[in-house]
């Protein structure tokens, strides 16, 4: 571990995951997985599709519970029984927000305004405060003009922004993001990345699952590499990006052949792997 983590090592742990296993429809999704996230840290979970990133985020959000092992949030064990307690449930939901990979799943209300109001309503905020806060977030996320729109009238990028806004409206201290920039056009992608960069001042704990290596350095202080439901590597973005073997093993890059065109019109087949030079 290098400098960037030594600074936060003294900080409190937001999440501590110890030897967690989880099966989904009898198929193992996570096996004996351990990881930890400090408060105010930005952590990226890297991995190919089906490596267990999304499952991990759902466990961290208290939506599923491990078969073995333990997850604690700010020192308190996160179990199904614990979440039955209304007071803990509401304080946990208020502090931890999850943005789903599929925005269609996240946007279940008839209009954008209702979508943003859903969280605060369930947490029993008073109505005037909800209206005020929803309008504030609508403006901040630059989606005020969409407030009466139905989800089926939004573009992919707009949907993602509304999904993010619907979580940010509660101002959670921990943000869990499942592939926030997947399948977005460059401009929508840049907006999300800008937002994640803005979280870099330690004000929020952000855990992002991604397989996008280009923006890794901007959005994370530290990474975990997932493969087949296990952590196969951890480190700063630079360390990870230089570990070609690790990335290959995690199926995040593959040796490939491509063709260079030369000035004389000839072409030359050229097998190689890309290296990331910081």
């Amino acid at each position: 571990m290098t400098n960037s983590t030594s600074g936060v090592a003294t900080r409190e742990l937001a999440f501590d995951v110890r030897e967690v296993s989880y099966r989904y429809n009898q198929v193992p999704a996570l096996s004996w997985l351990s990881m930890h996230v400090h408060r105010g840290e930005r952590v990226a979970l890297l991995g190919a599709n089906g490596s267990g990133k999304s499952t991990m985020l759902r466990l961290l959000a208290g939506l599923c519970f491990p078969e073995h092992g333990e997850i604690s949030f700010l020192g308190e064990s996160l179990t199904e029984q614990r979440l039955q307690d209304e007071e803990f449930f509401f304080s946990f939901r208020r502090r931890v927000g999850l943005v789903f990979q599929n925005a269609d799943v996240q946007l279940f209300c008839p209009s954008v305004f209702d979508e943003l109001a859903f969280g605060p309503l369930q947490l029993r905020w008073p109505a005037p405060r909800i209206r005020e806060r929803v309008e504030e977030v609508l403006r901040a996320m630059d989606i005020a003009h969409l407030q009466d729109r139905a989800p089926h009238r939004l573009s992919g990028g707009e949907k993602k922004r509304v999904a993010l806004a619907s979580v940010l409206v509660l101002d959670p201290e921990v943000l869990l993001l499942d592939e926030p920039s997947g399948a977005l056009d460059p401009s929508s992608q840049a907006r999300i990345v800008d937002f994640l960069i803005s979280c870099g001042n330690g004000s929020k704990t952000v855990i992002t699952s991604t397989h996008d290596m280009d923006t890794l350095e901007d959005i994370a202080d530290r990474c975990y590499v997932f493969a087949n439901g296990r952590v196969v590597g951890a480190g700063t973005p630079l360390e990870i990006l230089h570990d070609v073997e690790l990335l290959e093993r995690a199926k995040l890059i593959r040796p490939h052949a491509h063709v260079h065109a030369h000035g004389d019109g000839g072409v030359q087949p050229h097998p190689h792997v890309h290296r990331y030079e910081g």
């Binding site: 279940f108 209300c109 008839p110 209702d114 369930q122 139905a150 009238r153």
Partner: protein, 635 residues
């Protein structure tokens, strides 16, 4: 089977809505309990699924197509109570957002299809499947039987509701004010279509779905199979085709079911007091008819058309047939069935004529049902999007508070259904046209989408009433000598004008209302929060599933070479429905998580809408006054 406005009297509608109320109450109570928190997204998504399934064109033997309601599947997966809610919501969305099925008749439609359909479907499935294993073939057969029985019992209920209208509701001259056909015609007419086409469609969907779930997610069948052996299901390899009954087996099944049902139809007899040709000769019956017609003496002999009709069938049989078949009652029944069959053929012909379009350039081959279904799905989405665009423009109705509009137009539709005078009915229709003009809703659109469409459907249904309604003959058709009765003309006029007026008004409501606002405003009426939430979620996911289904059919269309065999087409339709069901269940599970992640614990909370302003109340009062005036003038 979606009963439009104007076919049932207001008291019938109110009675059926009242009969449905306790079922809804119990269903809501059950869903509200925190234990069933997962059911809220599941019901919403199932309702959206059922809505989309109703748009699938299922190829049936004989080159025809049919639509399923999906109540068999809903009852099997969700259990009877949640199924009642899911189908009711789907029907509400069809009536209120798409104008399919009447707004005043919503209670009746929910009673028949959602409540009776779900309960009968569930009971049949439980009885037929008994304790068979989750993966057994018996469950598939039971599912088919459940779907088939459910839709037919629902259709029988609708037929009885139609059939009692002329008996109970007529004016001083004996003119039936609502559906003009007595039970003896209404029952065979409804059952003919449902015992064959619609029943088959439901059967195909139900068997296909259960077979699909057995392979992919057998756990979902556990809810309604508590007695099934708990043995671990062997996980079968995914893929492969779903086995569906062949056309021959389907026909055999229908034949067997058909044999069982005419007995029921025959048993109904003339106990309800409709008039067969024979009854006209019986003095006692004549007195009854006279009393029912408020002392207007019935013609001394049966209208000759009626007599002629009833002899069409008995004549060739008379010598060899057993006596009950030679009876005029049976003859009348069978002739009515033949007549209705002809009407259906006519309607289908007219439909295909209206649907004729120039073939797309470069794609001369007819792709049949895949293309037709894809187009239907696209049209439904387009129609909804068009309505949303229209509602966003400026105009009188568009500017009204959605609550005012819902109650106001609802009151006018109720008035149109309640009045007993044709000119008052015409007046309400004229008011509708004025409202359309001040709201900048093009009359051309209303003509094409409402007036002609309703005329084609209700007009054809009303046509035979001109000849079949007993009363004073004012004209005889040359050659056939069928009498056109004054009462017949008036009853046909009532039926068509009522249906036109109600459809016009509900189209105005659809085209001028932003549903996102209305759904929020519904809370103001103290509508149960769960219901409002489910309704909103259904409306939202309906679009997602419409798009998913369309993508499925379109991608299939681009890969299709040659024409599919009917059995393949059925398999394809059932498989598509299966994929959609899989998607429904997956999205439902994830939506539940997304709700939980934002603080949902089973008890849903919604924002209350702002108060109504004084001028909103004023406009509401104007609507209600107009409706009351119409009812008073037309009483």
């Amino acid at each position: 089977m979606h009963i439009p406005d104007g076919y049932l009297s207001p008291s019938t509608c109110a009675g059926l809505a009242a009969a449905a109320a306790p079922f809804w109450y119990v269903a809501l109570k059950r869903v509200k309990s925190a234990l069933h928190a997962r059911l809220i997204p599941l019901i919403s998504l199932f309702a959206a699924f059922s809505f989309v399934i109703m748009m699938f064109n299922l190829p049936l033997p004989g080159g025809t197509t049919g639509h399923a309601v999906g109540m068999g599947v809903a009852a099997i997966v969700l259990g009877p109570w949640a199924s009642i809610l899911a189908i009711s919501i789907a029907l509400t969305i069809q009536a209120v957002f798409f104008g399919d099925g009447g707004i005043t008749a919503l209670g009746a439609n929910c009673f028949n299809m959602a409540i009776i359909g779900s309960l009968v479907g569930y009971a049949t499935y439980r009885l037929a499947a008994w304790r068979a294993g989750i993966g057994s073939a018996r469950r598939v057969v039971a599912a088919g039987l459940a779907g088939y029985t459910a839709i037919n019992v629902a259709a029988l209920c609708a037929a009885i509701e139609f059939g009692i209208q002329p008996l109970l509701f007529h004016d001083a001259s004996g003119t039936p004010l609502y559906a003009p056909y007595p039970l003896r015609i209404a029952i065979p007419a409804m059952m003919l279509g449902h015992l064959t086409l619609a029943g088959l469609a439901e059967l195909v969907i139900s068997t296909g779905m259960v077979a699909y779930l057995q392979r992919t997610d057998p756990g979902l069948l556990r809810l309604t199979a508590p007695d099934a052996p708990p043995a671990d299901e062997p996980i079968r390899p995914a893929g492969g085709t779903i086995r569906l009954p062949t056309a021959r087996k389907l026909w055999l099944a229908v034949a067997a079911l058909l044999i069982l049902t005419p007995l029921g139809i025959l048993a109904v007899g003339s106990a309800w007091g409709e008039w067969s040709a024979r009854d006209f000769a019986d003095p006692r019956v004549r007195r009854e008819i006279a009393a029912a017609s408020r002392n207007l003496a019935p013609p001394p002999a049966a209208p000759r058309g009626l007599e002629r009709l009833s002899s069409i069938w008995t004549a060739p049989l008379s010598r060899y047939a057993p006596s009950f078949i030679r009876g005029a009652g049976f003859g009348y029944l069978v002739s009515a069935m033949v007549g209705v069959g002809l009407i259906i053929v006519l309607a289908l012909l007219l439909n295909s004529l209206l649907a004729l379009r120039p073939p797309a350039v470069g794609r001369p081959r007819r792709k049949g049902f895949v293309e037709k279904t894809a187009r239907g799905l696209l049209e439904a989405t387009g129609q909804a999007l068009f309505a949303e665009d229209m509602a966003a423009t400026s105009g009188f109705l568009q500017h009204l508070d959605p609550r005012v509009k819902l109650i106001g137009i609802g009151a006018l539709i109720a008035a149109a259904v309640a009045v007993h005078r044709l000119w008052v009915l015409a007046g309400i229709l004229a008011l509708g046209v004025v409202l359309a003009l001040v709201s900048h809703i093009p009359i051309r659109l209303l003509t094409a989408r409402v007036w002609l469409a309703v005329l084609a459907f209700t007009g054809i249904i009303a046509l035979p009433a001109i000849f079949l309604t007993p009363g004073a003959a004012i004209y005889r058709l040359p050659l056939l000598e069928w009498p056109v009765t004054q009462q017949g003309l008036r009853t046909a006029g009532f039926l068509v004008l009522r249906a036109e007026t109600a459809a016009t008004l509900s189209t105005l409501l659809i085209l001028s209302t932003l549903w996102t606002r209305l759904l929020r405003a519904l809370r103001y009426f103290r509508a149960p929060v769960v219901l409002v939430a489910i309704l909103g979620m259904t409306y939202r996911y309906m679009f997602l599933f419409l798009a998913t289904a369309r993508d499925m059919f379109e991608s299939r269309e681009t890969r299709m070479v040659g024409v599919l065999e009917p059995a393949d087409r059925r398999r394809l339709a059932a498989a598509s429905a299966g994929v959609l069901l899989g998607k429904t269940l997956q999205v439902s599970g994830e939506v539940h998580m997304a709700m939980q992640a934002r603080g949902f614990r089973g008890e849903i909370r919604l924002l209350d809408e702002l108060q109504m302003r004084p001028h909103d109340w004023l406009r509401l009062a104007a609507f209600v006054c107009a409706a009351t005036l119409a009812v008073w003038l037309g009483r």
